[in-house]
């Protein structure tokens, strides 16, 4: 090897070595950008911050809880530990009007911790698969504001699939993408004992049962940025060309302890605007049945892409490239 070649090789190695880590994340699979959905969990691991997510809805009452309005403000911070493995910390603040005691109550919900491993990514088919394990830490929130006193565990599988691999004849459907989740919601306690004094002054014991729940949901979206950049530039004006209309379906099927078959859920049509550093989302929350509610609620979210805002510090994995 001549000295000139050695010098070129050394310079190339030094250039590569001095480059910052090549970043990806951000819900990408090939040329597909998956936005963060508002209602169901995302299938990808990323450095992101959802703050705040706002929900307001009227909920029906039952024998134990009066009908009333629920206002929920929550936040989630997601951090990659490894390029495909991350942790999410979530918290919420609830306003119940009225709460179970027929008074207006507010306070923080339980802390939620979720570990997620994105174990499969296929660029050509715009596919992401991941596994997650969530833990709602019982007793960390205010019980009167709806926080449970017991732990809830949530093992889950998540997926994302973009339709960019459809044939040319179906090119207009390539901007479509679907993400989804199937998870178990497993309370650590099968029931709570509730002690009350009746009108005669006698002690009464009630047992509130906590069922295991099969929770599933999916989001179907049509990405106008994808249409513009990869299918056909139809000349959409700025702002419009970053919109992603979507519908999210979110269903809970209790499995046991007297609640089997008492399905609840919502259909959430809405829209996301995805910018460089953050996205904004707004959805209607439509109950699927009377058990869930009779009134349409609203959900909004501001979501920050930390990997784009702080690419060399907070926005990269703690370990690995």
């Amino acid at each position: 090897m001549t000295s000139r070649r050695v010098a070129v090789a050394a310079a190339t190695l030094l250039t590569i070595a001095s480059m910052p880590a090549l970043a990806s994340a951000h819900g990408m699979a090939g040329q597909r950008f998956f936005p963060s959905t508002l209602t169901i969990d995302d299938p990808f691991v990323a450095d992101e911050l959802s703050l705040p997510t706002f929900l307001h809805i009227k909920q029906p009452g039952d024998s134990e809880v009066p009908a009333g309005q629920v206002t929920n403000i929550s936040g989630e911070f997601s951090k990659r530990i490894l390029p495909n493995f991350g942790i999410t910390l979530g918290g919420e603040w609830n306003l119940l009007d009225p709460a179970a005691n027929n008074r207006t109550e507010s306070g923080f919900g339980n802390l939620e911790v979720t570990l997620k491993y994105q174990f499969f990514t296929n660029a050509a088919h715009e596919t992401i698969l991941s596994a997650a394990f969530g833990w709602e830490v019982g007793g960390t929130g205010r019980q009167k504001a709806g926080a449970e006193s017991f732990d809830i565990f949530r093992p889950a599988l998540l997926f994302g699939k973009g339709m960019g691999d459809l044939p040319e004849a179906l090119a207009w459907l390539r901007p479509v993408a679907v993400t989804g989740i199937v998870e178990g919601v497993l309370p650590s306690r099968s029931g709570n004992k509730k002690f009350t004094l009746n009108d005669d002054g006698d002690l009464e014991v009630e047992i509130e049962k906590n069922p295991n729940v099969f929770h599933w949901g999916f989001a179907v979206m049509y990405s106008l940025p994808y249409l513009q950049a990869f299918v056909r530039d139809v000349g959409l004006p700025i702002i419009i060309n970053r919109l992603i209309p979507l519908v999210e379906i979110d269903i809970s099927n209790p499995l046991d302890r007297g609640f089997a078959g008492k399905t609840t859920g919502t259909i959430n049509p809405g829209i996301i605007w995805a910018g460089k550093y953050f996205q904004l989302g707004l959805e209607a929350v439509v109950p699927v049945n009377e058990r869930t509610g009779k009134n349409v609620g609203i959900r909004g979210q501001v979501h920050f892409f930390l990997d784009d805002i702080f690419p060399n510090t907070l926005g990269r994995p703690v370990f690995g490239r």
Binding site: L22, F230, R232, K276, D307, P311
Partner: protein, 121 residues
């Protein structure tokens, strides 16, 4: 206090002048998915971020998968968010533009699109 902290954070994030982001395709000449009557002499694509041209590629392929560009891709000092490549003499047909770029903050993005030529030179 909590809302003040959120407002300060948002102001920092929105006003961040030093951060960069993923480079997404903003527009192209010929336009994405378009049909042109006259074969273009070059393909130019603009991105939402400044690029590292030494680590960015742009290829144009015909229907048989053969390259019809006179690569490598080049950038323009006055448009650091643009990548261009000259083309060989091409006739009527469908052409695929494949790109893979590195933005200045080291995010890699990639993609492809087609354009059609209705008539050759």
């Amino acid at each position: 206090m909590g809302w003040r902290a959120i407002l300060v954070l948002m102001a920092l994030l929105l006003g961040s002048g030093t951060a960069s982001a993923h480079a997404f395709l903003e527009r192209a000449e010929p336009r994405v998915g378009s049909t042109v009557k006259i074969a273009p002499a070059q393909v130019r694509i603009w991105f939402t971020e400044r690029l590292e041209p030494a680590f960015s590629t742009l290829e144009v392929l015909n229907e048989r998968g053969e390259r019809v560009d006179r690569g490598p891709a080049q950038s323009d000092e006055t448009s650091p968010d643009m990548l261009q490549v000259r083309l060989k003499s091409i006739g009527a047909g469908t052409y695929r533009v494949k790109w893979r770029v590195l933005s200045v903050d080291t995010h890699v993005t990639e993609g492809d699109f087609i354009f059609r030529v209705a008539g050759g030179h």
